[in-house]
């Protein structure tokens, strides 16, 4: 069954079963009433029977030929039988009532299919015994229908509806904690792997499931932490050998070999650096009171990267940083993100051009534009995947940089956009929520 199938819904199932129960109660009640009717002792239509006897009595006469006659309205609603003093049957309808007990002058009887009255009296044709019977009300289906219609439905239908509504409300109320659990569960990410589902206000029936889920999360978290720590440790451990390698290169006599090896070491160092950043990022959670000034950040990053940029004959400028623009953000990680963007821009901008860091306050954003070849619209989507590079064969940069930027912006509920810088080149903009 797919999750959307109605039988997967507890509300639907409960409603369906309640409806069956109510229907069963209706049927059982109707049937009981029916049986009760058929036993009929308390429900003999006495007046109708007496009227019928009077009608039969009045209908009896001595005919011209000396034979007794019976005149009755066409199709009487009762059965009848008339017997003479000798007990011989004189007149009878179809399905006549049975024998009357001897010795009584009048009385009522309850037969299986009809209620019966009898009277022994002197009539126009002498002493007779008149018996009349009225059929016990029609067949049971119509009785049931009538009972349902007249007596059961007005009571049972509201009861049924009330049961359904109360059932649905109880379920919805009882299951409401599940919605809260779902929203908490949706927030559990690698960055917040220590969060657990709350057990308060939970129906007792759901507690074991939530306990089990929390225990499973504990085990996953442990494995995840081990992995993260391993990455960080490995990156740390790689630093000293890299430092040795780098220092060793300075002592080489062959300067051209040293220069090309130094580039390799620089690339490796950068990769190690980025691995470490990724490991730290996995644990990045934004504290509610953390604030960062984007203007100060822009100047800081520009200051740090300017010597390297100038050495490579590129310029860095900051605009809009005269006033502070404060956002809810983690300083160290935003510094890292901006640094990665500026390094990336410095790498792509052509010699003699400027990488511009611009801060805007309404809404808060920070953008980095270069004067390089720009990024084709088709490549923009792939740009943030780890290790993706437009020209895979080309130079430095492990391709982790932009993936790290994206992680950091995501942790800040910020958006990163790529478009064309005025005058060509690429522009990356990190937009913060107000």
């Amino acid at each position: 069954m797919s999750p959307s199938h109605p039988f997967r819904s507890l509300q639907f199932r409960l409603a369906w079963r309640l409806a069956l129960v109510v229907l069963a109660i209706v049927l059982a009640t109707s049937f009981a009433i029916l049986l009760h009717r058929r036993s009929g002792t308390t429900d003999i239509p006495r007046e109708e029977l007496i009227e019928a006897i009077d009608q039969v009595t009045a209908g009896l006469s001595q005919g011209a030929n000396g034979k007794p006659q019976l005149r009755l309205p066409a199709n009487p609603e009762y059965n009848y039988a008339v017997a003479g003093a000798d007990g011989r049957a004189l007149f009878a309808s179809a399905r006549p009532p049975g024998e009357a007990p001897p010795g009584w002058s009048a009385g009522f009887l309850s037969e299986r299919s009809q209620a019966v009255a009898f009277r022994r009296l002197d009539s126009a044709i002498g002493r007779v015994e008149i018996r009349v019977g009225i059929d016990n009300r029609r067949d049971w289906v119509s009785v049931l229908g009538r009972e349902l219609d007249e007596e059961l439905l007005p009571v049972l239908l509201p009861t049924l509806l009330a049961a359904l509504v109360i059932g649905a409300l109880t379920l919805r109320d009882g299951l409401r904690p599940l919605q809260r659990l779902a929203s908490v569960a949706a927030g559990i990410t690698p960055a917040e792997s220590e969060r657990r589902l709350p057990l308060d206000d939970l129906p007792r029936e759901l507690a074991p499931l939530v306990h089990a889920i929390n225990a499973a999360l504990d085990r996953l978290d442990e494995g995840f932490r081990a992995q993260r720590d391993f990455t960080a440790d490995a990156a740390h451990q790689l630093r000293t050998p890299l430092a040795i390698l780098s220092a060793h290169l300075d002592t080489l006599d062959d300067r051209t070999v040293a220069a090309s090896l130094r580039e390799d070491v620089a690339r490796m160092s950068r990769l190690v650096e980025q691995l470490l950043q990724v490991a730290e990022l996995e644990a990045l959670t934004l504290k509610p009171q953390e604030r960062t000034d984007l203007s100060a950040l822009a100047v800081e990053v520009a200051e740090a990267l300017a010597p390297m940029a100038l050495a490579r004959r590129r310029d860095i400028a900051v605009t809009g940083a005269e006033v502070s623009v404060t956002v809810h953000g983690n300083h160290d990680s935003l510094h890292q993100a901006l640094r990665n963007l500026v390094e990336n821009a410095l790498h792509h901008t052509s010699e003699g051009t400027t990488v511009d860091i611009a801060v805007q306050s309404e809404p808060p954003s920070i953008s980095v534009s270069d004067q390089g070849p720009g990024i084709p619209a088709a490549d923009r989507k792939n740009l943030f995947q780890r290790f993706w590079r437009a020209e895979r064969s080309s130079g430095r940069g492990a391709g982790l940089g932009l993936a790290i930027v994206q992680r950091i912006t995501a942790a800040h509920a910020a958006r990163i956009e790529i478009d064309d810088a005025p005058g060509g080149g690429a522009r990356f903009t990190i937009r913060f929520a107000r």
Partner: protein, 225 residues
């Protein structure tokens, strides 16, 4: 310039000693904090390069104690930890600068020289860049022996730039330096001062370039021909 290197990794220490010696430093190397303490007590050093994690303790903790006891030597912290948070921790412990492994020898030398160029540092008396030399005691500037005449405000700007040669000097710092001479430092007044200084240096062929980093500050570097 006498330098104490505190580094426990023998191979790295060997290479750093070699690189720094070539850059003109006289280097003593120890591998432990207690040895470092003994060396500093015994001899006169101009600067210390300190590894953060050492076999007998944490370099940052050790430095904090020395600072509390009144040690004013410039310290450069060397470490395998690199996050910005660690960096702040390192600077809070009293280190004057911080360099993460792996690093390039040229970078280490540049940082050490910048520390030594601070007022009171061993290189702080005469600041040199390109063909320019700045005598901070007599406040005289010369280019290849010829004296260059600069105004008091230009001298202040030049000193600030030379003490942090190769690194960005923020606008704010320069503006604060100028306040003594010009009470009304308008947004363009710093530019005007720098522009005049730049012209004079160019005319004297000082071999020094003052880069403008728009919105950030200025950076003095040797002019690359």
């Amino acid at each position: 310039m006498r330098l104490l290197l505190v580094e426990d990794n023998d191979r790295l220490a060997q290479l750093v000693v070699k690189g720094l010696s070539e850059a003109g430093f006289t280097v003593d190397r120890v591998a432990r904090l207690d040895e470092a303490g003994a060396a500093l007590a015994a001899g006169k050093f101009d600067i210390v390069v300190l590894d953060l994690s050492l076999p007998d303790g944490d370099g940052g903790e050790w430095l904090r104690k020395r600072r509390a006891a009144g040690d004013k030597l410039p310290f450069l912290m060397l470490t395998a930890r690199a996050s910005t948070g660690d960096k702040v921790k390192g600077l809070n412990s009293g280190a004057d600068d911080y360099l993460a492994k792996p690093f390039e020898m040229a970078e280490l030398v540049a940082r050490l020289k910048a520390l030594l160029r601070r007022p009171g540092g061993v290189l702080g008396l005469t600041l040199e860049l390109g063909r320019l030399s700045f005598d901070t005691v007599h406040r005289e500037v010369g280019v290849a022996g010829r004296r260059l005449s600069l105004s008091a405000s230009e001298l202040t700007l030049l000193e600030l730039l030379l003490r942090r040669a190769g690194r960005v000097v923020p606008r704010r710092l320069l503006e604060e330096g100028l306040y003594g001479f010009d009470d009304d430092v308008g947004p363009n007044s710093l530019e005007a001062h720098v522009s005049r200084l730049r012209k004079k240096l160019e005319a004297a062929a000082a071999g020094v370039q003052i880069h403008t980093l728009r919105g950030v500050g200025y950076l003095a570097a040797e002019r690359s021909e």
